[in-house]
Symmetry: C2
Subunit: 367 residues, 2 copies
């Protein structure tokens, strides 16, 4: 078992990475100061694979368990579906000392975390991510929430888990497309803060499926990505500054997801296109070289992720969508841009002209 | 102007009490590190009285203002009405640096605070309470939220305002019944932690309307009550211990409100009955004397608040309702009880027998 500490002023916790960790969920939770009641939140697909293992582990450790399933998919990440979690919490008399456990991907983690943040003004929360994206990104750092019909994650809270338990074996049942989408966030860490990770990804023969990854590379990916996220979040829990660099690729990514109604692309796919755009912007502002941008694009292609946005997306629509982003400040769109030294900066001064040029270059139709 | 500091580890702020303070809302807000956009949330009744004063004050100070009105009444303290606040926030492009201002009573304050806590994972929040209850209690301390159909405030967050601005002149338009309901919380502070306040209330010729209060007594009431709440909250922001004593009268109070569907009694009226019950329990546990209980009941009568629960409420229904309270831990109902030295303790060990006896004594019908 590898453990990574997330050290925050008020809520430090451990990320535990270990194969067959799911069987240890109950005994791991027993080590924390929590009450006996647990509400396990999952979706039907994940619960079908791993629900019984989790249930048995928790019951063997003496926990009293209730289960709430949310239908699969980003379209269910809504206030209405959240209200149903509250109903189950009420039904099973979840108390302040009780624990909500998220077993699933980012949607389950975000919604369960927000439910934990807001039920009785806050109960205990544990993340058991089962997708690559949730393991390396969504489960760490306390961002929780649901979507507004007009924008992703507009409703939410910063709320930290008391444990993140990662069992890499759960990746075996992850659809290949979702595995590749998760790889986008891994590439992100390589670009913005972890050059050794970037190098390891470049040296890998393939990044587009779990089967083609060596066990060593998977371990490197999980360990480096979780460590990168933990380090950044530990320094800036509520995104006052540094943490914003984690939004690399996300400014345009969110706009693409919103314009395609969260149905055409997975989050990681949108982020991949966003990273290509941010790389191009960085190149035009002389923060990055053409070679840097090219190396990033090669990794994105190696993971079989999209680098061009679909031709039905119009430049003006994208520019409008960018302005509803949470990261807008006084109307200025904020981009995270990579720099030559393998880090990243936050840039408010990207002109509409540069934006239009880059959008055209990666496939948007001007109108 | 009197100011009272609420000192918290991460979010200290001032409570400013001053007549005609509403006219200074804009200039007061200008002194804080907030952006230019403001969303003022109120209800039609309060906005009709004070909306224009607030609007002019904010616009004169250069703020860009949007207004959202929530219909009057506790029955609108729901997730659905909250979703409408989010819609307005989106429409007016409220940003992370923007400020939500609650102008109204406890319902408006709680809902606006929860919207501020959860829109974009947290924007600035200012409380401008216009009811006595909101001034002395609800606006201070960061409890925000909405009701679940089956329980009050079950959905919410701890989220601190950056300013509480109290203009006592706004009490002039408060319906007398609501004024009296607010007085219940004032009496509460007198019982649990502020003997001089208790004495001042006892010496007053009347407590049942604003007109009959001397300006000095009103000043004492606001200042002592806010200070009491601020002191307790400063020591225990998230109700890990001490803060629980603020729930004096609330255990039974919440059950009564829930059983009467939030329609028969105002919160303060339910708390008044809850205080009488808690006083009787304390007397039976030898924490209080009969004379103590009698003095409290006299104050409650002087404020024309109810001391007996309505005869249609059945003992078993009350006992069941008590078990859905947020303060339940491992199934044990928790009461705050007054003690002989003018303070209060939290007691988990009130037996069903004592409870039944006291409920019968204050009017419940056994079934």
């Amino acid at each position: 078992m590898q453990t990574i500490a997330v050290n925050l002023p008020q809520h430090s916790y451990q990320i535990a990475i270990f194969p067959h960790g799911l069987q240890q969920l109950g005994s791991q939770l027993r080590q924390l100061p929590v009450g006996n009641k647990v509400l396990l939140v999952s979706n039907p697909t994940v619960f079908n694979y791993y629900g019984e293992i989790a249930r048995q582990s928790l019951e063997n450790a003496g926990f009293s368990l209730a289960v709430h399933l949310i239908p699969d998919g980003e379209q269910h990440k809504t206030l209405d579906r959240l209200a149903e979690v509250y109903d189950t919490a009420l039904l099973h008399r979840i108390e302040r000392s009780s624990t909500l456990i998220a077993l699933g991907g980012g949607v389950i983690g975000d919604m369960t975390g927000f439910a934990a943040a807001t039920w009785l003004r806050g109960v205990n929360f544990v993340q058991v991510p089962t997708t690559l994206l949730a393991m390396v990104d969504a489960s760490i750092g306390g961002k929780t929430g649901v979507n507004h019909p007009q924008g992703k994650n507009l409703i939410g809270a910063f709320y930290q888990p008391c444990l993140v338990l990662i069992d890499p074996l759960t990746l075996k049942t992850l659809p290949p497309r979702e595995f590749r989408a998760g790889m986008a966030e891994v590439i992100k860490y390589g670009v913005i803060c972890d050059r050794p990770l970037f190098d390891a990804l470049e040296q890998a023969p393939s990044l587009d499926s779990l089967e083609k990854l060596s066990p060593q590379l998977l371990e490197t990916i999980l360990q480096h990505s979780c460590q990168a996220k933990a380090t950044i979040v530990s320094q800036d829990e509520k995104e006052a500054g540094l943490r914003a660099i984690l939004n690399y690729g996300h400014t345009l990514g969110h706009a693409i997801e919103s314009l395609t109604h969260y149905s055409q692309f997975l989050h990681g796919e949108a982020v991949a296109m966003g990273m290509v755009a941010a790389g191009e912007i960085a190149r035009r502002l002389d923060l990055w070289t053409a070679a840097d941008a090219q190396r990033q694009t090669q990794l994105i292609h190696k993971a079989q992720l999209p680098s061009q946005i679909p031709s039905h997306l119009k430049t003006n629509a994208i520019l409008t969508a960018l302005k509803t982003d949470k990261k807008v400040k006084d109307g200025t769109v904020r981009f995270v841009l990579p720099t030559a030294n393998g880090q990243a900066i936050v840039e408010d001064g990207v002109t509409p002209e540069v934006l239009r040029t880059v959008l055209a270059e990666i496939g948007a139709i001007s109108d």
